[in-house]
Symmetry: C2
């Protein structure tokens, strides 16, 4: 039985340091309207969508830093962002969006939420687990910093797969409510969220798909020219961008295949403030690891595909039937040990 839905990555081009949030949210709403015209049911926005990617800057004023964060407990009620969720509800489109979250205790997280248009609520929140970069800024004043470890704590919500109610079809309309008030689940999709660097860590994909995830969604801010991080790279700027795109695409395709799930990736891209280059490459990838749709630009662009979640079954029931093939007795080190322990010297 097919489980077709039309989904989209809403790629977002340059967002400069002085961009106002309401202005940026209007760009997101414009993409949402395009999605509605194309009968899209789910739109995935990038990581930290609402502002420039501020972890590249050393920001010592807490007031300035706080201006990049959302502070309320419920982002759908944030004055700047509420119009986006209102539009999503009006058009019946689910939304996954990333933002910087400041909690009441003052902690920072690199967060994303999944907003369900059919319930009008956030049904899942994820906080980025694999923070790249450093706590201390580079001494070289020309280097582009990556200070996520300075501004954010590692996510404390794990990788919790969730049901997107009625994303495939509206269970209530189809009369699938069972005794006890539960649906049979066939109208739902089982989803998971990652953020940027998480996509390079198969542990994250595995934990989600051990919960039956049919599709993972992630936004990213990935620098095109990171030679200062690479210890004297001899690559040209063009080669560096090509390499960054190659790695981004490679891990998305391979992990979609090895975990038998679809994936949607959404880039914050383009050139921020005239000098900070980010790769594009937003795409929708099948459980066989093939690119179904991809961005053509490094600007605001909606990447749309009709996909059939039932296509996950081939992988999940054969090559990657976890129950038949996984051997957890051989995997102990993955959870016992964080870093490397080499074999003894001979």
């Amino acid at each position: 039985m097919s489980r077709k839905i039309t989904v989209a990555a809403a790629q977002v081009g340059a967002v400069h340091k002085d961009a106002s949030k309401p202005e940026t949210v209007q760009r997101l709403i414009k993409l949402l309207h395009e999605a509605a015209e194309q009968k899209v049911k789910l739109v995935v926005y990038p990581e930290c969508t609402l502002t420039t990617f501020f972890p590249r800057h050393l920001i010592e004023s807490r007031e300035e830093l706080d201006s990049y964060f959302e502070h309320g407990a419920d982002i759908t009620q944030s004055q700047d962002v509420k119009p986006l969720f209102d539009e999503a509800k009006a058009h019946g489109i689910d939304v996954c969006i990333g933002y910087a979250e400041r909690t009441p205790d003052g902690s920072g997280y690199n967060t994303s939420v999944y907003y369900s248009a059919s319930t009008g609520q956030v049904v899942s929140k994820y906080r980025k687990v694999h923070l790249p970069g450093r706590v201390e800024p580079f001494e070289d004043a020309n280097a582009t910093n990556q200070l996520e470890k300075r501004y954010f704590k590692p996510g404390d919500l794990g990788f919790k797969a969730f049901r997107a109610p009625g994303l495939v079809h509206n269970a209530l309309k189809k009369g699938q409510l069972k005794e006890g008030g539960k649906t049979d689940g066939k109208g739902d999709a089982i989803l998971g969220m990652l953020i940027c660097n998480d996509r390079r860590w198969p542990e994250a994909w595995r934990v989600y798909t051990l919960q039956g995830a049919e599709m993972l969604m992630f936004g990213y801010n990935t620098g095109s020219h990171m030679s200062h991080l690479w210890g004297g790279s001899q690559m040209s700027a063009e080669e560096q961008e090509k390499e960054a795109l190659f790695h981004s695409r490679l891990v998305q395709q391979a992990n979609s295949y090895m975990h038998a799930c679809f994936s949607i990736s959404s880039a914050r891209c383009g050139v921020d403030d005239g000098k900070y280059d980010l790769i594009g490459g937003s795409s929708i990838v099948s459980p066989e690891g093939h690119v179904v749709a991809e961005a053509k630009s490094k600007e605001d662009e909606l990447v749309v595909a009709e996909i059939d979640l039932a296509e996950c079954r081939k992988g999940k029931e054969r090559t990657f039937d976890y129950a038949r093939h996984r051997r957890v007795e051989a995997y102990g080190l993955i959870t016992e040990q964080t870093g490397v322990v080499e074999p003894e010297l001979l």
Copy 2:
């Protein structure tokens, strides 16, 4: 400091059902001589190198089945295979080779060993953990079986990384023996073995690289035309072979990158008995996920590259610095749970 070595995948073409082991071993020795001419220090042979890939057949006679297995405790002393190890020792070439192993208690394993020319001994044995296929044969007499789960037990040796003594340079000659009779390890390489389907499971790569593995080696027997396994695939034979090669290459490139190690893959390939097609594609892949060298044929072919193990350091010290970036508290399900448990119904 560079850690350069010249390595090779020794791809092996068709091995028919009636091929004799001594004859097949002569082909392996021919490839070894080519390797010696090119100053190769390590040759990786395929999975179950010594015979046709017998798990495709339903074999009900124990005597016939046993003829595909090696029975002694030490394969270097097996009459049929000893000439290969003798040549390897004479030329100072380390060898990784796969074979079917019958233990004294009658168990079968899909095994590989690593033979060190500098010690003249097998320094590590691996038994395939991720056995694909089924216990029961297909009812369709035209189907190609995949009966590894019938003939082999899942490997019971885990993923144990090991030091290949003096593979990078001979520690003894360089006077690197320390107090207490141990080398400083700089002349060794830290290696791990996988077999075929294991390459699709990132858990295996992670366990090895949590032990500092700089390079993984694996052989494979991968069918080109597996449409009967794919539930009514509409792909042509040519498209099926392309897809099988795509998946094989994709997981090797992505896992080499995500685990910051080199990899060498070696195919048993070609057309066995005029009808069983296996993909080629033997290759050597860098820790950045790039193919450094690859087979051009589906026949006996030596694929050679000079690589620098020091190139692993970029990944191991930056993007994939496990100690800084891994968050084991989020990975629990990987070892707690073998199969899928979906989120509760709404």
